[in-house]
Symmetry: D3
Subunit: 154 residues, 6 copies
């Protein structure tokens, strides 16, 4: 298997088809995972249809938001991150691998601690992403519950 670098050489003048990458979608999705855990833990348990309806929906949303985190990060990692960037941030592969694992863990479990850990890993990825684009970042509290901090352009 050839190294993908020689593709890059041929293709250096041509950017990816779109060039629009923004980790914010993954960050909002990670916030939603935390929110779903908060909502599930905040529900008063009873045997009503209403309770069951909410549980099924929150689990379903947690599933799709976890999946969105993984999908969005995979796209940026696979399409934007090139081998020379990996040399600069050699742990980016294991960071992304860990985001995948945390995404799956949060699908399989209901854990505030691990949901926050997922957001933190995605924030760390966002920091590297913006640094690679020479864009300064800051931490801001999200304007909606759960109001955790996210890393955005300054």
């Amino acid at each position: 298997m050839k190294n993908f670098l020689n593709i890059q050489e041929v293709d250096a003048h041509c950017d990816v088809p779109c060039g629009i990458y923004d980790p914010i979608t993954a960050q909002v999705a990670a916030l939603s995972v935390i929110r779903m855990v908060d909502l599930m833990e905040g529900l008063e348990k009873d045997s009503s249809l209403s309770y069951k309806n909410s549980i099924v929906r929150y689990v379903g949303l947690k599933e799709s938001e976890c999946e969105k985190v993984k999908h969005e990060i995979r796209i940026i990692w696979g399409d934007f991150i090139k081998p020379p960037m990996v040399e600069k941030y050699p742990h980016i592969h294991s960071l992304v691998h860990n985001i995948m694992a945390l995404g799956s863990f949060n699908r399989q479990h209901v854990s505030k601690e691990k949901a926050v850990e997922l957001l933190e890993a995605v924030n760390e990825f966002a920091e590297i992403f913006w640094a690679l684009k020479d864009v300064k970042t800051k931490k801001v509290k999200a304007h909606y519950p759960p109001n955790n901090e996210i890393v955005v352009p300054a």
Copy 2:
């Protein structure tokens, strides 16, 4: 048909299931529509498979990004905007209706002018959205092509 307000009264203590709304997804999608038009107009026409491959892909992406704009705005409009807010911003219905029309227009045509108009309409919606949440906004140039301005929390 009863007015939906009486639902709100019954439900005033309960937030929407998630409360996480952010027009940024629609704004990034609108930027992508502009980008697709730029890429299509920038391609040198020839009869190669490579050219055809690019055209099909750009049209396909333009389709799905236009749809994403419409879908995201519909969600915020339908779930977050309540009748009392409509009283405060009475033209919001026609603004959203116009975003739908512009979204379809941009699917049916390849027009830089109308793609920019779509982004501007979405920015106007974002301004109202953040004002309703008492969040100050600013205009920033997007950190990726086509680099148009978007309205984000200050």
Copy 3:
């Protein structure tokens, strides 16, 4: 932001790409929402896997049928309804906005009353739609449970 009407002037000779709109899909979906509520309320509660399996499926189907109602109505409203039609039926914006709200309410709750209200709002939309096309309508009982009345061409 320019008024979308000037697009219409340029485009008056050209219909939307397809011209095939039919509210029947939204009406069948609204019937399905009622049906899901009936099935959920008709289930005998027990702790069996079979019971849980049914609840999860009915909630899931209720979710997707509510979403289908909202998606289909959004398409007809956004693509078929033009500003001059809004002048003729000025409450159509708030009717559609209400369908969105009712669609979400029915996702969040299990309520026969509100599910029927959703169908009625969709029927009202269908009546306007067919009137705009100069097609006479009638009310017929659906040929499948829950057998509520729907508005269809006479």
Copy 4:
């Protein structure tokens, strides 16, 4: 492999989960396939981006409408049609098999004749479907282009 009939015996008291089947969705989709062929054949060929944009979109819509026909018919055939009904209409299997083949043919080609044939096969299926439910049918011209006749409850 056991015959599925003994499942039916165990399950005779329980209807399918929903009981809402209506071939109208497949019929509207088949009309859309014809419409796409008409639009494609009606386009004036040139080398503009606008022309290419339309072609890609019409092919894409033809694809998804053909798929919708096949998917909807498969659901009704697989879930509503039971072995005793097959005894009553022994050619229903080959009719459905033919709809699948016609659906694929219309994806692979641009042919008005074969698109109409697809609609006719779906109409024939609708006729059997309503007869099995003891619902009388009539043929009506669709209220939108291409205005072909469809079989609906009388």
Copy 5:
């Protein structure tokens, strides 16, 4: 309605667009249905969020795997199987019809016996498929739980 055979005559030189059909996807999905039933039956019932989270996910996965079985078999049956093959294996229509019914039964119930029956029906279909391509088959135990036997090329 014309017989589809005359399409075949016109089209004899042209294969289906891709020619890549493999029942393995449906077989893996059928194995997953069995696996989901095993997991659901193996869970210790309690009132924890963790238990509910798992149940919702297993039911959801069972749904989508059943659907995948039906969708994949429909594609091969509808696109690869031609009328002359039906003459050779006249029961293939009722076999496929039964797979559809078993797929739906397994969505509606939690039954190891019926899940295994679904896999067996899919294996029988795979056997016919490979025989039609003159490829010899063997039965092998799957390399992952639930480790049931599947029919694959020898």
Copy 6:
């Protein structure tokens, strides 16, 4: 960011929710990418609707098959591959990263050479996957065009 290993320790008794992973889906998808390139290159260029219809469909299928390769490999990599396995095959991260890049390259271009390279990379991944499960493999020619070799359990 904590190491994900401590999750594994807590979770050692519990497998991933399903345990059914099989690279064959990604391998079949990679074969389909090659097939699409072959079909595109084999088409005689003309200005007919039939030609355009085929091109749009082949590009569309190439898109979705490339995406399927990336999605399936991401799932196995993210869910099945654990840190201790990475120690055993330290280049697996860059192999997967390369599959992502090759998947995107094949979406953006029409290149037999690169399509074959994608299949080879997926085969290399399959070899590692089966080795990690102590399953011996062999190379077999696929039973359908393009008939390239794939790595499967012996």
